[in-house]
Each structure stands twice: as structure tokens, then as C-alpha cells.
Amino acid sequence: MEERDFSFGMCEEQRTMKETIARLVKGVVTDNAHDMDEKKAIPSEFIQKVWELGATISPIPEEYGGYGMEYSPIMNTIILEELAAGDMALAIAATLPSSFLYPILEMGTDEQKKKYIPPYCDGTYRPCTVAINEPRFKFDAVSLETKAVKKGGSYVITGEKCFVPMAKDSGHMLVAADLDGKGQLFIVSKDNPGVTIGEREKNLGLYALETYPVTFENCEVPEADRLGGSGGCDYAKFLQKSRIALSAIGTGVSRASFEYARDYSKERVQFGEPIASRQSIAFMIAEMAYEVDGMRLLTWKAASALEAGKDAKRESYLAKIFAGDATMKITDYGVQILGGHGFIRDHPVERYYRNGRGIAILEGMATV
């Protein structure tokens, strides 16, 4: 592979994409994020607007209904950060099909690609989802308690999943399960009789995002629907990509909190001057600024490794734990700088604080 120039700068294409999403976010999302959160729903036309940008299906080959453009993890982190700077719930919902389609595209068999990708490469957004998280203490995406057992020509999946985004409307989901001590992914249809989708969950954050618990009881999946066929898939790679994606989303949420608190601190006057004129506030603002940048750079670093065709295990892990930690700190500062006003839901910093908590906890909800 030809070596690329080392660069922290965006190229024309990256800048254009960033600006396009930023415009959309500013015009559609920013003013409505509060409403979406209160009403606990994302209007489908918002998701459709993001979908129409075509970013998700752009790297999918034309033969499967995509545009056959270059696949770029870095571009995907740029997109996720911008969307999440508008609203984290929307960022996850609007890009959700990527989490189902990209692993199939990358690791699926030809039959799986032909069968599952084209129906979702449509002009209209059609949800398909991933089931990774499990509702238990000490949950770990690398040691799953949802089990897959080989039985004749199929696998039987048993276990419980939670935080499955848009499970109710999704035709298919990619389910992570332990097979002989190792994580694997299975393509499961919503209509499978072994699948039970529970009541919509109520969570700390992401009120606008529909998430569901899903139970698998003797859920029989044909061998042909094990991702990658009988040889299986590289589940670790799947996790790497979702970790990078969550870091990008964390960067977006944190940036939103930083920018809001920064602007507020210039306007808010106490003791006769803007509170930003006091070092105790200004230093928090400074820290937010460089931690947001640090988070973004770690995300780009991990995505750069992927683009160079390298393994990003260490980089994606470090990016995610940094983002998880830093997002908590930054979104906390956001609330703190606004003081009592930060505690009131009229200001978005309280939502960023709740949503941001998810970065460290959630796994697999987005991909690059």
C-alpha cells in the first residue's frame, strides 16, 4: 500500500462533508434536539434527511445498490462527530444501518452480501440494527453471555440483549454471541420465532433514541446466516470499528457542551463582568478545548491505522476509554459552568451530560 502523507489537515472532500453535515445539523437538528428529547422521538423526516446525504451507502459497491465510493473510516468519524455535535440520539439512529451493513460488506459471504445489503440500500431509510450489550453487572463485549450453540445445520442462540436501537422497526439485526468461547456475529431476522422484543427501555440519556431489550430463546439461525459463513468473522475488528465510532460520537457531544458553555460564559455577567473573565471558569473552558481536541485526535489516529490497512486494536481501545473518560469530564464541566441553569432542561448541557455518560458504557451502537 502506498504511504500517505502525514497530515492533521482535512482535504477538500473531508471539509466539504463536514460542512455539509454541519449545515444540516444547524438547520434541522440543533433547534429540535430539545424537543426530540422531551418527546422521546426523532421525527423520521430528520433521519431521512441525513440518509439522503448518502454517506452510509456511499462505500457500498454498485452491485449491491450503493455508490461504490471509497470506504474511509476517517470520513466516517468526521460524519459521526458532526452529527453527534447536533444530537447523539440522531447520530446513532441515522447511521444505524452502517452497523448492520458494513460488517456484512466487510466480512460476509457473497450470498450474505447479495441477500442482506441491497434491500437496505434504498432511497428511503430502513432501519436494521445490532444487538451487542447485555443487561447485567460486569457486562463486557469481549465475554458475552449470549450463547450460540451449533445444532445440526444451524446455530441456536440463547440470551438477553439490551440497548438494541430501533429493534422494533428493524427487519434484521446483527447479534453478538459467544460461540465456543469466542465472539461471533449472526444475522437474525426480526421474524425469527426465537426473538422477543420487549418494552421500549427508559434510560439515563438518549431519550429520543428508541432502544429495546431483545430476548433470544432457542433462536435457531441457519448456518448460512453466521456472519462470514462457516468460517465465521473477525468479531474483534467489528469491536474496533464500533469503539472508534463511539469515540467520534463522544467528541461530538463533548464539543457541543464545550461550545455552549464557552458562549454562555461570555454572556453571563456576575460581579460586573462575564464569568469567563474569571480564571476558575476560563481554565475549565481551556481544559474542555484541549480535551475535545485530544479525543478527536485519538479517534483519527485509530481510524488512520484502519485506513492504512493496519490493526487498530490498541488505538481503538485507547480512543474509546479516553473518550469515555473525557466526555464525562467535559459534559460535567458544561453543566457546572452554567451553574443552576445547567441543571435545568432548557439548556442542552444537561442532555449532553446524560447522553455523554453512554460513551463509556455502550458498545457496538455505531461503526466507522
Binding site: E3, K301, E307, I321
Partner: protein, 399 residues
Amino acid sequence: MINIEPTRKMIEVRNSINNLAKGVLRPIARKYDVNEHEYPKELEMFRSIKIMGGKKKKKEGDDAPKSDKPAPKKLGTNLSTVISIEEMCWGDAGLLLSLPNAGLGNAAIAAVATDEQMERFGNKWAAMAITEPGSGSDSGSITATARLEGDEWVLNGEKIFVTCADRCDVVVVWATVDKKAGKSGIKSFVVEKDRPGFKLEKLEHKLGIRASDTGTFVLSDCRIPRSNLLGSEEVKTATEGFKGVMKTFDNTRPLVASMALGITRASLDFTREKMEESGITLDYEKNLNNVSSLEKDFYLMEANLEAMRLLTWRAAWMADNGEFNNLEASMSKAKAGRWGTLITQKCCDLLGPLGYTQDHLAEKWMRDSKIMDIFEGTGQIQHLIVARNVLDFSSKQLK
């Protein structure tokens, strides 16, 4: 196009300097920590090697393509320097600061010297004297004076915390030619060590970087030729001149950040080695809730080290690309200075008795790293600069 995967060239530089640091600096790190102020003669071999600064004047025609072949991927001076410094400080930071002919004064001379000055001072070891007992972060408030008498400048004042004070040949001294002019009256002068009236008063005993000789100079009616002034004699009404001087900090701050990086990495590498010896493997896989507190601390420190490095590399890369990097330079030093301190402290904690004894270097790294959050602008000054930048506040709006 964004790509922050290190290039082969960057890895080459890193590896070759690391070999040097491992072979030459690390083995004598403790020796010169214990024997404070003793000249590390082993460093003589570096007299001709440029690790820090030392901008070479470009010869005409250098930019012309030499053949039809595509140009090899270039590695900018600033980026290559921060990579090198990280490695050198992984070896030993105090020794890096003691490299012959590589003082901060050398960087200042290289930046503004005339050809004639370059001829006279280019091959000298030049220290930098800015700080005074009453003037630290507020370097605009210095009181050392220079007055012109005929063809000579007469300098008076006291300068403290001068790095390489004992070993240098010349000192770049900051003094004001006109107190009423405020910051714009501040000029820098090259003072040779043997000038009458120029006295090295004492050498300090420090918390860390003990291999580096830090001293105090007293100038009493010290006379130097008029041509020893660096830059223009003219006192401008605006503070442009002073701003120019401060701008050089945009280039040096990432260098200090990379020093913090090197020490911090040394500390983490040693901690990792001890963890692995005791059977702990870091697999970068498990949820942080499912690893020991020791491992969790380690992972988070490593992630922060990575953030320190990327912020530093970004500032250096911007400088190489001619981008204004005042904000990014201060971000890198704010992050690296503070986290270098926190991480080297924490490593001692994780190492337990191995982190407290002088049998190992961890205790030394904890002492060495502290200065990185202090010199070339304290962490607090960096936070002020970052905050003013992102708030778009003047120094009056945010004091």
C-alpha cells in the same frame, strides 16, 4: 487528507534517536542526577549533531526538483524535532538540556542573527537569560537595563534560572533599553561569558533535571559591543517587537511538551515492564470494569500519553506547514505539562517501593517531569493562552 499514522520516515527518526538515547543517555542518567553540576563529558559527541532547533538558512535553488522521480515524503523540521526530543528525554531530559551548542539561546540566535552575528556566535554554546527574581511569567516586566554609551551597550541587572549557565560560551540576555516604552523596549543581547561585569553568581540545586546546570548571573556595568544586540535597535511604539519574541514560544512550547512526553513514556514503559514481569498482560480488550485497578490506571495513563503526543505533533505539524499555532502550541504544553506530572507520580504509586527507591529511575522521572509544567510558560499561563484564544478575549478581558 487526514492521516496520522506515523510514516516510515517518522519511525526511522524515532528508532535511530531512541538507539542513541538508550545507548548514550540512559546509562548515565543516574550518574549526573547524583553528581549535580558535573559536566557530562559523554555528551561531547553531540556537539556536531543538531537535535534541537538550529534552523539552517536555506540556500537558493534548494526547492528545485532534482529529478523526475516523485519527491520522497518530507518530514518537517518541527515534527522531526519533537519526535527526536521525545526519544532523547525517554533517555534523559536533564542530559538533553545539557547538549553542547544546543541551548535556547542558540535557537534565538539562529532565528534573528545577521550573517555577521552568525559568524561570531553561530558555533558558540548559547544560553538564554530572561527570568529575574521579580519577573517570572510576566516577562514583560523585566528590569535589567541596557544603555548605549558610544559604541557599547552597558548592561545591569540580575538573571536567574539560566539553563546551561556554567557550560555555555555566551548568554542571550533580555534587557530593556527604555523602561518607559514598556514591552517594546525589551531587546536581547549576546553577552560573552568573559566580559567584565558579567558574573555567574551561583548554580541552583533542583528538584529534577539535575544534570542541567541552572544558574544566576549578575550584570554590573557589563559592556558589550553595540553589534551584540539581536534584531533591531529601534524601539517601536507598538508592542510588535515583544510579540515577535513571544511568538518564538509557539515553536518552543511543543518542544517542551515533547520533553514531557519522553519522560512520561519512560515512566510508563518501566511500569509496564514490571507489570509484565509479574504476569499481568495488557491486551487492550476488556471492559475497564473487568480489569484490576492497576491495569485500569495504566490504560488511562497510556491513553492520555497518546493525547499528549497527538496534541504536540499537531502543533509541530502546523508550524511545519506555516500555520499559526499559538493556540495549539499552548494546548500541547498545557496537556503534556500537567499530565506528565500526574502520570509520573501515578507510576511511582503503582510501582510501590520500586517507585520510591533510587535503585530505579521512576522516582527521578517524577522529579524531572515537574519542570515541564513550569518552564517556557507555566501550565497556568498555557491555560490562559488557550482560554483567551477560544473565548476570543484579550489579556484585559481575561487576566
